[in-house]
């Protein structure tokens, strides 16, 4: 019975995503081809904010997947962007090199509105990107066994930079110039499908016995091991799953921008994801989602009203981190989750 309910729920979700996507893409195409629509406020605002909506979905995926590693398993990773970059390059490579051969010509396709054949290839490329990123996550997870908090952080930071340097040397995907000419297949449907999948996956893990094992490791490794929790397996699991979803986010990014550069694997990118997770509260999925929305929307709102404040963005992020750690280190949600049941209970009271 539950299975049927879940299936129906899933189908409804897909339908909703599809509908919103159809609407959004059609709107975007309209605005692109008819500049006179710019004068109508609704269209103008739409064309400003629609890409922001897509960006938000991507950051949600990145933040929630990092939360699995940092928050739930307590392994402080500062190189998450590297997994995203790897996924982006891998996915891009597939669509760029295999696409024309398998799916025909797509030079006339509008961004986000590619033929179904291409979309299928895209889905496959996202998964492949995720898997390549996972493989690297596996390799990083292995040595991480022996390292504690701050050391692990620095190593993952270093790994991110090594990934960047390695990518710069791979000529077939553009080397230091970056990988260009990636088809613009990303759209609302894919972004939010992946985001929701990430949230569901991480939530299910968190609420299962595996989640308990991860929490035990986070709280006290020695005690957990003494209680028979296989440290190896779970730490690596956290990295592998977290990096899988990050890889997919990277694939989405590459196909949104049409290009991806080695710098995308760097420290600055990783730090932005960390800020979101810390703000939302390590270990709280809801926190990550809301913080991702807040930290993507807020700079854009600021840009709308006061664009000259943009240069203060990173400085404000820095201050945010410092103040948060002094005043409320557990972040906004502090490891708690927002659940429908909980909200209803509160309302009843």
């Amino acid at each position: 019975m539950r299975l049927v309910r879940r299936l129906i729920g899933g189908l409804i979700l897909l339908a909703v995503l599809f509908a919103i996507n159809g609407w959004g893409t059609a709107m975007q195409q309209a605005v692109n081809s008819r500049p006179d629509l710019q004068s109508i406020a609704f269209y103008r605002q739409f064309s400003i904010w629609w890409p922001v909506v897509l960006e938000t979905g991507r950051w949600i995926t990145l933040a929630v997947s990092l939360n699995l590693i940092n928050g739930l398993a307590g392994q402080f990773s500062l190189g998450h962007a590297a997994f995203a970059a790897i996924g982006g390059y891998a996915a891009g490579a597939i669509t760029v090199f295999l696409g024309p051969r398998l799916c025909g010509d797509a030079t006339l396709a509008a961004p986000g509105a590619y033929p179904p054949g291409w979309n299928l290839l895209f889905a496959a490329s996202l998964i492949a990107g995720g898997m390549v990123a996972s493989a690297v996550g596996f390799l990083v997870g292995l040595p991480s066994l022996r390292l504690r908090g701050d050391y692990l952080a620095i190593v993952t930071l270093g790994m991110g930079e090594v990934v960047r340097v390695v990518i710069e040397h791979i000529e077939p995907v553009g080397g230091s110039l970056g990988f260009n000419g990636i088809p613009l297949i990303t759209n609302f449907f894919w972004v939010y499908l992946v985001a929701i999948a990430t949230i569901l996956a991480v939530r299910n893990i968190a609420q299962s016995t595996h989640g308990r094992a991860l929490l035990a490791i986070r709280e006290d490794e020695v005690a957990a091991e003494a209680m028979g929790v296989p440290l190896t397996r779970y730490k690596v699991l956290a990295f592998v799953i977290g990096s899988f979803f990050a890889g997919m986010a990277g694939g989405l990014y590459a196909h949104f921008q049409g290009s991806i550069q080695p710098q995308a694997a760097g420290f600055i990118e990783s730090i932005q994801i960390v800020v979101i997770v810390v703000l939302g509260g390590s270990g709280s999925i809801t926190g990550s989602v809301l913080a991702a929305i807040a930290l993507t929307l807020f700079p854009e709102i600021l840009r709308s009203v006061r664009p000259e404040l943009e240069q203060y963005r990173m400085v404000l992020y820095a201050l945010l981190l410092i103040v948060l750690m002094l005043v409320r280190p557990q972040g906004i949600f502090g490891g708690r989750e927002l659940s429908l049941r909980g909200l209803l209970a509160r309302v009843k009271r």
Binding site: Y151, Y312, A318
Partner: protein, 312 residues
């Protein structure tokens, strides 16, 4: 052979810089068990402080050996104060907090220094901007005489390199004297060994920690000036990579060990120079991290470090 010796000289000079910065990391880790992520940015501030000093002392074109020392000293003093301020206002409250929180704060401080430094200038003294603005600034190499010692075999030693060796040696000896022969040095070692016990013995731990930060920052500042004299283009982000590599050097030598920091610095400097020189310089940045990963897998306590038993 000549190329080898030349690279050797370059490697040692680079290693000296890494070592000076690594000392700061290691000392702070020793007393607080905390990695001061923002330390690399103190190095950057040292370079700018040196520029400031040179400008207001008016020695930017002096071309004399005497002029450079007040510049270095002033830079060291300024950064010592900055280091102490950071400890006092950002890190002190987090001494009892989980280490991860302190690391995040340190990252915040680092970003603040880097991006704050890039903000458009608000005050301008004699052509020195504060904040520094995004444009790179040129460090006045004219402070030093343009001496170049060239041996018969074609080896060349620039004035900066000579200065680097001399200054590093002096600072190393000085630091050793402080740590081993003064009361504050004993206090530092006591706090490193066991902070609570040291407090119980009447050692003012807060002041000792402040002093440690001041000392580490001063050394990083000296490194900043020396580095800037050699590579005169300075910008607010220059501390990021150098700082990370110096951290690797500290870990390599054994974090918490002062001789280890210098040793790690030289090993890293030499390795980087030789690999970049003989293999391919494009892999330069990756080398340091490769070494880091290797060391942490093979011998996490570093070359001179001692293993710490974890009490459960």
């Amino acid at each position: 052979m000549q190329v080898f010796l030349q690279q050797l000289i370059n490697g040692v000079a680079l290693g000296a810089i890494y070592g000076l910065i690594a000392l700061g990391y290691t000392m702070v880790y020793g007393v607080l068990r905390f990695i001061n992520f923002a330390h690399g940015d103190i190095f950057m501030l040292g370079a700018y402080a040196g520029l400031f000093a040179a400008v207001i002392l008016g020695v930017t074109q002096s071309a004399s050996w005497g002029a450079v020392f007040p510049v270095i000293l002033m830079a060291m003093a300024i950064c010592a104060v900055v280091g102490m301020a950071i400890e006092r206002f950002a890190y002190r409250k987090l001494r009892t907090a989980p280490r991860l929180n302190a690391l995040i704060t340190a990252i915040g401080v680092s970003l603040f220094l880097e991006y704050g430094g890039q903000l458009p200038p608000m005050i301008r003294i004699d052509g020195f901007d504060f904040p520094f603005g995004a444009q790179t600034k040129t460090f006045p190499t004219g402070i030093l005489p343009p001496t170049q010692i060239t041996t018969g075999t074609g080896l060349s030693l620039s004035a900066v390199q000579v200065l680097t060796f001399v200054v590093t040696l002096v600072l190393m000896v000085g630091l050793n004297a402080i740590v081993r022969r003064t009361r504050i040095g004993v206090a530092m070692r006591a706090v490193s060994a066991d902070r609570e016990a040291a407090a119980l013995m009447g050692i003012p731990t807060d002041r000792v920690i402040l002093f440690t930060f001041a000392l580490g920052s001063a050394l990083a500042a000296a490194a900043g000036v020396l580095y800037a004299l050699d590579k005169p283009t300075i910008d607010p982000l220059m501390g990021l990579y150098v700082g990370l590599k110096a951290f690797v050097a500290a870990v390599l030598g054994g974090i918490g060990s002062i001789p280890g920091a210098m040793l790690g610095g030289f090993v890293l400097g030499l390795t980087e120079t030789f690999v970049a020189g003989y293999l391919a310089s494009s892999w330069r940045d990756a080398i340091a991290f490769g070494i880091l990963i290797l060391i942490l897998i093979v011998r996490p306590t570093g070359i001179l470090g001692s293993s710490v038993r974890e009490k459960v």
